[in-house]
């Protein structure tokens, strides 16, 4: 079975880094010479490299088993795609007025006869049909999703929380991308981190109180342990078969990011940045949690896909619980407007009391926004973008792997993965968030001087592009850009790492310049990355990856603008920013590698990096340049979109005065127009950068002085840090101080007051006791005594007198008796 093999391969690729982590973190225990040995690093490389081979095998298997490359012309596969989409929803067939396409019958058949897993108990396969490997019919596009359960966390009646896997084209492409880039970066890091291979590492950026530098043992193996843990978490995130599991690994990549940003724990800036990153991510995760709660309450499951046993759906996944009608909108209850919750076959599910199961539409918006809030945090989108530039405190390989290629892209990945559940309002929010982010970050990147900061802002900006792409219904475009960006941005980060390594940890571009001759490989590979991200190309002749993917996004935006003219900004701002992107990237390149050296000291020390660092650069530059070759007819695009959400094909029609989402054909129609505009923008940006920084025609310093206001605003990152500090940080600490004060001042004071009151009461009690109670007793005693004293006179001691008393007494008694009881 293809699905089972794929699962095993990917599970291996996923778990190997965890094994690596366990080996490496305890490296100090089983190595004789842990501070000088590179064994830990090679273990990590081995694990992730083996993971890459597994992923690649899986991808190739999947590619050959399916008709993924049955591309033909664009029209061709797209119409085929349409057929299959129809076939996947047989009840649509009746409505479909189109003539029955040739594949339809076959598709429907496949849908009907699911081949269950041959192994009893293995929950396997879903929407998909697995075919016999050789000779059997190939898998159709859009039908190759495998999902099932790895193990169960907890079962509560009908509720079940599990760890699942969900394997489709997106999973496979992401796996391959992540493992490939990670392998390259691991190799690079062996060279970059080699100065940690010492018993006494001097950290020039951490100053003690007396001004001396911190001396500490090297932490080479610890770095690789963290990297391995990160790879495990990241791959787990991609493999995750349910949104809860995504959340689990979401947090785990977050903590790995925390550990890696704060790798130089001695530096205050590093630990601050690490905390900031984690806490800002947690703000996003707060939203994520809200989304999860709503999903859990209304759907009772977190699974993406259905779990099948023996052709029966045993556990329904989220994606088949809401059903899209012909016009692309969710089926809704006619009276309440709530979205109906359906079974896999499209029938509405019912509650125990017979009423239809449904979820209010606004809660579906809440779900979408909540999940997206998580994405905002992880992908550093507006308004949670401020952590990513600070995260550059981590070692450069970390920036390349975690903070550009993989983890930050996880937000986009999740938005893509969860796409079938998003409604128009959410998509529009995503689009505008992306749009604001891409512009905001690009403007800051124009003035940043730290080479890594420029790249960081560029990352944020590019992530904004991806979000925008997804938001304007360019699902494929956004994820396409995710992959291409991962290659060229990790390449550029590694190049910057090579520069920093070569210049002895100098990161300020104004101190560089003219490094082209000293570091030719780095400079050339960097140029490839810069061209790729800028989207420069000679159409029809040669185009690097970024051209294709950005083109796709701009085309989607244009199609969206055509469909919803009110949202024209969603097209123009990205277009403008395409120019800005080209400008700041070439500015970076010219600043660093071109012209004359600005700091002779730095220049003298600069040297090209060793082969272990340049080799990954070369590998990545090949991918950065050519991974997207062929654009939307190319292998990458076809692989990636193999299982794209079904409703993309026809678009979504607006409800009332809502948003219309363009169909794929509409986007394809805009490709040429959008591509031209984007290219014009990129070329003008490049030219401006060349004029300002590549030549001496213009005095840049003079310009800065004249535009000091704007420049200051931008260098201060639009004052977001100050704003958040004033808005959130300080109030939080105020509230915290208040709570602590409240505890002491109110509760304890009440308590102490009560205690004191008790003491006062006891004192009064004592007074009362001594005076009133004792007084009474004493009174009785003294009264008795005085009576006795007064009676003692009677006791004369005279016998005869006593007899007299007796006699008188008797007489008196008699008298009384006779008077009282006469007769």
């Amino acid at each position: 079975m293809v699905g089972e093999t794929l699962q095993k391969l990917l599970m291996t690729a996923w778990l190997l880094p965890l094994l690596g982590f366990v080996v490496e973190i305890f490296f100090g225990f089983w190595s004789k010479n842990p501070r000088h040995s590179k064994a830990a690093a090679w273990t990590a490389v081995g694990c992730i490299g083996a993971g890459f081979l597994c992923s690649l095998t899986a991808l190739v298997m999947w590619g050959t088993a399916s008709n993924a490359f049955d591309d033909g012309d664009a029209e061709g596969w797209m119409s085929q795609q349409a057929d299959i989409n129809h076939a996947r929803h047989p009840h649509h067939e009746a409505d479909s007025s189109e003539g029955a396409p040739p594949h339809e019958h076959e598709g429907a058949d496949h849908d009907a006869e699911h081949h269950g897993s041959s192994e009893a108990g293995a929950d396997h396969i879903l929407t998909a049909v697995a075919t016999e490997d050789d000779g059997g019919p190939k898998l159709e596009r859009g039908q190759t999703v495998y999902s099932g359960t790895i193990y169960t966390l907890g079962v509560f009646g009908s509720l079940e929380l599990t760890l699942d896997y969900y394997i489709d084209s997106l999973t496979l492409v992401m796996f391959t991308m992540v493992t490939l880039i990670a392998t390259c970066i691991h190799l690079f890091a062996i060279g970059y981190m080699s100065d940690e291979l010492t018993d006494e590492y001097v950290d020039h950026f951490a100053h003690k109180a007396d001004g001396s530098h911190v001396h500490r043992p090297g932490r080479f193996y610890r770095f690789f342990a963290f990297l391995s843990l990160f790879c495990f978490a990241m791959l787990g995130l991609v493999l995750a078969g349910n949104i809860f599991q995504v959340f689990i690994f979401w947090e785990l990549v977050g903590i790995c990011s925390f550990l890696l940003i704060g790798f130089y724990t001695e530096r205050k800036t590093a630990s601050d940045a690490a905390n900031k990153a984690f806490i800002m991510n947690r703000i996003g995760d707060f939203g994520f949690l809200i989304g999860l709660m709503v999903l859990w309450t209304y759907f009772g499951t977190f699974r993406f896909g259905d779990t099948m046993v023996d052709n029966e759906v045993v556990d329904q996944g989220l994606f088949s619980m809401v059903h899209r009608a012909e016009d692309g909108n969710f089926d809704r209850d006619e009276l309440t407007g709530d979205v109906l919750i359906t079974g896999t076959d499209g029938h509405v599910l019912t509650n125990e009391d017979g009423s239809n199961r449904q979820i209010p539409y606004y809660l579906l918006v809440v779900v979408g926004l909540g999940i997206f809030a998580g994405c905002v945090g992880k992908s550093a989108q507006f308004p949670l973008q401020t952590w990513l530039p600070d995260a550059m405190e981590g070692p450069t390989p970390v920036s390349a792997l975690v903070h550009s290629a993989t983890m930050v892209a996880a937000g986009v990945y999740l938005a893509g993965r969860f796409f079938p559940m998003f409604v128009q309002e959410v998509l529009l929010t995503i689009a505008y968030t992306g749009c604001i982010t891409l512009f905001l970050a690009a403007t800051i990147a124009m003035v940043a001087t730290d080479i890594k900061k420029v790249l960081a802002y560029s990352t944020i900006s590019q992530l904004g592009y991806m979000m925008l792409g997804i938001g304007v219904f360019g699902w494929a475009a956004g994820l396409f850009h995710l992959i291409t960006h991962a290659f060229f941005k990790s390449l550029m980060f590694l190049c910057s790492g090579s520069v920093i390594h070569g210049c002895h940890h100098e990161q300020e571009m104004p101190k560089m310049g003219g490094l082209l001759k000293k570091m030719p490989i780095t400079a050339i590979t960097m140029l490839i990355g810069v061209i790729a991200i800028s989207g420069l190309a000679i159409p029809g002749v040669i185009a690097f990856s970024g051209y294709h993917s950005k083109d796709a996004i701009v085309a989607s935006a244009l199609a969206f603008k055509n469909a919803n003219s009110a949202h024209f900004l969603l097209f123009f701002i990205p277009l403008l920013t395409a120019g800005i992107t080209a400008f700041y990237m070439f500015r970076l390149w010219f600043y660093t590698f071109w012209g004359a050296p600005r700091d002779q000291h730095v220049h003298d020390h600069a040297h090209e990096s060793p082969w272990i660092m340049t080799a990954p650069l070369l590998i990545l530059s090949v991918f950065a340049a050519f991974c997207a070759v062929g654009g939307d007819h190319g292998y990458l695009y076809l692989l990636l979109t193999g299982d794209e959400p079904a409703h993309l094909e026809a678009g979504v029609t607006a409800v009332g005065d809502g948003i219309t989402l363009p169909a794929i054909q509409d986007i394809v129609d805009e490709h040429t127009t959008a591509g031209t505009w984007a290219l014009v923008a990129a070329v003008s940006g490049t030219l401006i950068a060349y004029i300002l920084y590549g030549t001496n025609f213009v005095n840049v310093e003079e310009m800065k002085r004249q535009l000091a206001g704007v420049h200051g605003f931008l260098t201060n990152k639009w004052h977001f840090d100050e704003l958040y500090d004033a808005l959130f940080m300080r109030p939080a600490h105020k509230v915290a101080a208040f709570c602590a004060w409240f505890d002491g001042a109110v509760f304890d004071r009440i308590l102490h007051g009560a205690a004191k009151a008790t003491v006062v009461v006891s004192k009064w009690d004592r007074v009362f006791d001594e005076n009133v109670v004792d007084g009474f007793v004493n009174l009785i005693a003294s009264a008795t005594q005085s009576v006795g004293t007064s009676l003692k006179v009677v006791q004369t001691g005279r016998l005869r007198q006593y007899v007299m008393f007796i006699v008188l007494g008797v007489v008196a008694l008699f008298a009384v008796m006779f008077t009282t009881f006469p007769g």
Partner: protein, 104 residues
């Protein structure tokens, strides 16, 4: 005019004896005299006991009671005489007015 003595006659005799005894106790300063008064009082009571016993349905109770009283009186007299002797040893007199040491 002599008739059969009835209960009242005996009670009258008892009362006379009692009052004589009491007066004797109250007036005699000699301790022996006082003791004799006591004997009179007791015997007055004895007369009453016997009389009631004879004239009512008490049966022999009264007689037995009076026997007890006589025995008791004897014992009392013995103790009292011992006290008197001791008193005399200490004070060289048997005048009860001199024995006022029990004064409160």
């Amino acid at each position: 005019m002599l008739h059969d003595p009835d209960l009242n006659s005996y009670l009258f005799i008892g009362a006379v004896l009692f009052v004589c005894g009491v007066i004797c106790m109250a007036t005699k300063r000699n301790a022996i005299g006082v003791l004799m008064g006591v004997e009179l009082v007791l015997n007055g009571a004895n007369v009453n006991f016997v009389a009631f016993s004879r004239y009512t349905t008490l049966g022999l109770d009264g007689q037995i009671f009076s026997l007890f009283v006589i025995v008791l009186a004897a014992a009392e007299a013995a103790v009292a005489l011992a006290i008197v002797l001791n008193f005399y040893n200490n004070h060289l007199t048997v005048d009860v007015d001199r024995g006022n040491k029990l004064k409160g």
